[in-house]
């Protein structure tokens, strides 16, 4: 237990150092506004990818409707600040809670499904959320909700991201997290072992949705607008690509996936027609030749962590 806390402390220091470097570069104007924007985007995408990884990677439930929860967070957060005049903290809490609540309500019935069916159902749910938003004039309908103040800053995104990463890491190592992993490996066996599979599936789904909501609040308060077109199936697919690229079930993998893909997307801004083709080909080729993703498959990554831990202890 003690060593674990020590480990956490080290990671926290590493995060602080990383933050200091980037923040220093930002303050010294070495990083321009464009890359600052992309750094914020990377932070938001890391939250999205790691939260989806909780559902798809840890628990083995295949959700492709993550953009719907992102949208809920973005809109609820914006309503809090724009319409009701609350501050950013309240917006973050409300957006997270709303997306989490929706995730809970939606997860309870749909998580009885498995595999492909769950994928299609979540795709449908994501679309239903978007269609509903499109029809609510209170939040601007198709025009989107405008006039959102920029309350998101790089430090805010960075530290929220770090907090969520710590939460997810600890969740995975907790009894709850291990129950989720057991469900992923073999649901029926997990059930036989006395794990309440529904409870843990819904728990992972709710938490994942809630964090997507947090990301949504940060997102809409950085880009001034919450617009239904930003939350289509394409966005869900983007997030999924990040998780898969990094390796399903690997949190660091999701982080790398988010960083790499956000960076590629920004770098390919000058070749717009090729961007989506490269994206889709990457996806196919990756699945064909390295379906475990950059950071290793489930089995491999477990071994990898183990060897890392042993290495750490020796040190």
């Amino acid at each position: 237990m003690n060593s674990l806390r020590k480990a956490d402390l080290k990671a926290l220091i590493a995060a602080a150092v990383l933050f200091a470097i980037i923040y220093g570069l930002l303050q010294a104007d070495v990083i321009g506004a464009f890359w600052e924007l992309n750094l914020v985007l990377i932070g938001i995408n890391i939250i999205l990818a790691t939260s989806l990884n909780m559902i798809n990677g840890y628990t083995g439930q295949f959700s492709i409707g993550h953009a719907g929860f992102l949208a809920v967070g973005a809109y609820v957060g914006a309503i809090m600040t724009v319409k009701l005049g609350f501050n950013m903290v309240a917006a973050l809490l409300a957006g997270t809670a709303a997306a989490g609540l929706l995730g809970f309500l939606v997860g309870l019935p749909t998580l009885r499904l498995n595999g492909d069916y769950l994928a299609i159902a979540t795709l449908g749910l994501g679309e239903i959320i978007r269609i509903c938003i499109l029809n609510i004039d209170y939040v601007g309908g198709a025009a989107g909700l405008m006039g959102i103040p920029r309350l998101t800053s790089f430090p805010l995104v960075f530290w929220i991201m770090v907090a969520i990463l710590f939460f997810i890491k600890n969740f995975k190592n907790s009894a709850h997290g291990r129950a989720c992993l057991a469900i992923r490996e073999n649901e029926i066996a997990a059930d036989t072992m006395g794990i309440d599979t529904t409870k843990y599936k819904v728990m992972a789904f709710t938490l994942g949705a809630a964090f997507a909501g947090t990301a949504g609040v940060l997102f809409s308060h950085y880009f001034f607008i919450a617009h239904p077109a930003s939350f289509t199936f394409m966005r869900s697919f983007d997030i999924l690509t990040m998780v898969v690229l990094g390796g399903l079930g690997s949190m660091t993998g999701s982080v790398m996936g988010a960083v790499v893909l956000t960076f590629i997307s920004a770098a390919l801004a000058d070749f717009p027609q090729w961007r989506m083709i490269i994206y889709s080909l990457t996806m196919i080729i990756l699945m064909l030749y390295r379906p475990q993703g950059l950071f290793g498959s489930k089995e491999l990554s477990l071994q990898m962590f183990q060897s890392l831990k042993i290495g750490g202890k020796k040190k």
Partner: protein
């Protein structure tokens, strides 16, 4: 676990440095020199990619022609395009890139109102002028408090004007009383037109007997049209884009809904007649601000050059993007500078500019004062019907 975090931190830090260096590299090569960069924040991919591509073609044509004549203030122009993926948040991203990375003198685009509204915060903050060729929503140049955004302009008229013009035309010229409206629910342009049409139409003594919505990329409208038909309208207002409008008109006629139909400038495309079939396009009207058949010498020259270059007739997006480029050139000449802030100031007071879509002068809300034309479709052919002054 720590190791994971450490590796990650190191990797991320390395990548960040790479990004930062990349950023520097991009920044240092721009500025000065004898070319002036214009930015195009355009819809190159996504649902509205055809607008962005038209715009890009026309801007490139305008720049080529200007450079052949020796450029502006002795400097050559060049275009840097950033893709906004037809999306509001990406438009902000693209605007940021054009201004801070490419250090452009001014930006043309986006065409979608929502994308412009989101990105004006960036262009305004960076004090760089932006002309949106086809963004017709009032809020493109005016903020929520009703104050004009000093660096944002547009080359087209605004939604209220277009909706109002068609309502007046329907009441006074077509003498219809019962209108049905089909709104593209995924477009604020369509919603805006419908709203102002409805206001003016009911104010003038007409009634709106049915109002239905559809979404972009829908293909089957028969159910909705059957519902509208049962309300017995004598006029159908469809302020949408040609792809869906074509199918709506065709399917309405197939269902025997033989009433006058009308829409806005979204109808303006040769594709409309191909999709709806020419025989269905009779007693149909739309308001627009540009017609490739306009017989001014300037326009004829533009249409010929565009056809030679791209083997297609320019649409309204092309025409207004062409005008936007010329507006920037003119403003640079007037300001005798390529400083973004001075260009913006010059645009504000610009006078005597004539483009392919007619004369342009900005009012105090940065909206050009220009006339609307009502175009009648006869067997699918566009014929000029009347001109409505503001």
């Amino acid at each position: 676990m720590t190791r994971k975090f450490k590796t990650l931190s190191v990797l991320a830090a390395g990548l960040t440095l790479a990004l930062a260096l990349g950023g520097c590299g991009g920044g240092s090569k721009s500025g000065g020199g004898d070319t002036v960069k214009l930015g195009g924040n355009l819809e190159m991919t996504g649902g509205s990619a055809s607008y962005g591509i038209s715009s890009k073609n026309a801007i490139e044509l305008a720049i080529k022609q200007l450079n052949e004549k020796g450029g502006v203030n002795g400097k050559k122009l060049s275009l840097v395009v950033a893709d906004n993926k037809s999306e509001a948040t990406e438009a902000t991203n693209a605007m940021q890139k054009l201004i801070t990375q490419d250090k452009v003198a001014g930006v043309i685009g986006p065409n979608l109102s929502s994308a412009v509204i989101a990105s004006t915060v960036v262009s305004g903050g960076a004090k760089t002028a932006d002309i949106a060729p086809m963004a017709t929503n009032p809020k493109v140049t005016v903020d929520d408090a009703g104050k004009v955004k000093p660096y944002n302009f547009r080359a087209c008229f605004i939604d209220p004007f277009q909706g109002t013009v068609m309502a007046r035309f329907a009441l006074d010229t077509l003498h219809v009383k019962k209108a049905a409206i089909m709104i593209d629910n995924s477009s604020d342009y369509s919603k805006g037109l419908a709203q102002f049409f409805k206001e003016q139409f009911t104010k003038g003594g007409g009634t709106v007997v049915g109002e239905e919505v559809y979404l972009q990329k829908d293909t089957d409208f028969k159910a909705t049209l059957t519902k509208l038909k049962s309300a017995g309208p004598d006029f159908l207002y469809i302020p949408g884009y040609y792809q869906e409008v074509g199918m709506i008109v065709k399917q309405a006629k197939e269902l025997g809904l033989n009433v006058a139909m009308a829409g806005g400038d979204g109808w303006d495309s040769a594709k409309l007649a191909e999709i709806a079939l020419p025989e269905n396009l009779n007693n149909c009207y739309f308001s627009s601000l540009y017609s490739p058949d306009d017989d001014s010498a300037l326009n004829k020259e533009f249409v010929a050059a565009y056809e030679k270059e791209y083997k297609a007739k320019p649409d309204v997006f092309a025409a207004l993007s062409y005008d936007s480029t010329l507006l920037f050139a003119k403003a640079m000449e007037a300001a005798k500078s390529t400083d973004p802030e001075k260009i913006a100031a010059a645009l504000e007071t610009l006078d005597g500019f004539v483009g392919v879509s007619g004369p342009v002068k900005f009012d105090k809300f940065h909206n050009p004062i220009k006339a609307a034309v009502i175009i009648e479709l006869k067997n699918g052919k566009q014929t000029f019907r009347t001109k409505v002054n503001p």
